[in-house]
Symmetry: C2
């Protein structure tokens, strides 16, 4: 991964883009060599695209095709083209509601990261907060991980925790987890941009310790 210059990020999102905004703020506040090169969404009216436009960041809608939960082959090829043309080093999934399995993962092998609203390996997949509430855990959190072919199964880069309260609903719990996400996602990207994250199989280590 290129680290001598700025790490060029391509952010994929379908929703409100709060993680995108947190990452953008962290970059603006300085301290690590990264820049957001492009924001792509599968939803034309998504808030993340509006935010990107307001921030004068290159933003693109690409029709995902006919599937409900993944990109079709032609769409995935367009994502790869756009990301490649934008010179993206690291693909950052930020609330992107499509499973990636094909060309994008092979084109950006080991360079796609995601954030998940649980302490993986607990509660992978959809509705992580509901899963956590149903199981009755007292602690949950968020996980930044490399994306592989599985569901939320890639090597873990960073995790942090928050309490589950007795009267939590999925909404109140997710609000609290979002606060964790907005800290650790920028911190994980900063660590990658500084060349500190070393991946060895499914384990990652830090070459230097700069606590998130």
């Amino acid at each position: 991964m290129r680290v001598a210059n700025k790490l060029r990020l391509g952010i994929l999102g379908s929703g409100c883009g709060t993680n995108f905004l947190a990452i953008n703020s962290a970059i603006e506040n300085g301290g690590f060599p990264a820049e957001i090169s492009i924001v792509i969404s599968d939803i034309e009216s998504s808030v993340i695209l509006s935010h990107a436009r307001q921030l004068n960041i290159d933003s693109q809608f690409i029709d995902p095709g006919s599937y409900r939960t993944k990109l079709d082959e032609a769409a995935e090829a367009k994502y790869v083209s756009l990301l490649t043309e934008a010179g993206v080093d690291l693909v950052v999934l930020a609330g992107f509601m499509r499973i990636l399995k094909g060309g994008l993962l092979s084109s950006f092998e080991g360079r796609v990261i995601n954030i998940h609203p649980s302490l993986l390996p607990s509660f992978p997949g959809l509705d992580a907060c509901q899963q956590a509430l149903d199981h009755g855990v007292k602690v949950t959190g968020a996980t930044v991980h490399f994306v592989d072919q599985g569901v939320d199964s890639g090597a873990i880069i960073m995790q942090d925790t928050c309490r589950v309260l007795d009267d939590d609903t999925p909404v109140t719990l997710l609000d609290r987890i979002h606060e964790v996400e907005h800290k650790i996602y920028p911190a994980a990207i900063a660590a990658i941009a500084k060349g500190e994250v070393v991946k060895n199989g499914r384990k990652t280590a830090r070459t230097t310790i700069s606590e998130c």
Copy 2:
């Protein structure tokens, strides 16, 4: 569960009894109505029995029988007899290396608790620290839970966390988890003794909030 008077604890352990000592210290320091009525071990030479004798707490060895990982039927009946004779309200597993499936669980239904060195549902069963290191998680912890017929699958009472460090071994990680255990196991027992823990299916809630 009797809460008007002191909650009578029966502690089962096979090892060093550090959780037993933490529980005993917490009781001696006061603040919650509980007492340790009896300590039972399946290992005659176990350190937990030595500690109990030194503290003048009734301590008993009961031969577990011929199985390697569980109690045989006659042995389990002896455990039930001793616990019942000692007037035990709550059976506290503290490093007890035998699976309970039979008479003990039915005799003390909903009144057997255990502590596990992970944030369940991640890494149940043996070698939880090795499992956590192999998976590459950055956060783990300990879980106090009710014991049911499954492996570390009962309703969760309390959890707390600790960091996994890049250079952790199973031994260094377990040391750090033990520090967590020695806080939350007494805290969970205190909450039960005060009648604060309400179990509803696989969820537990606290009637009053006294943070661990």
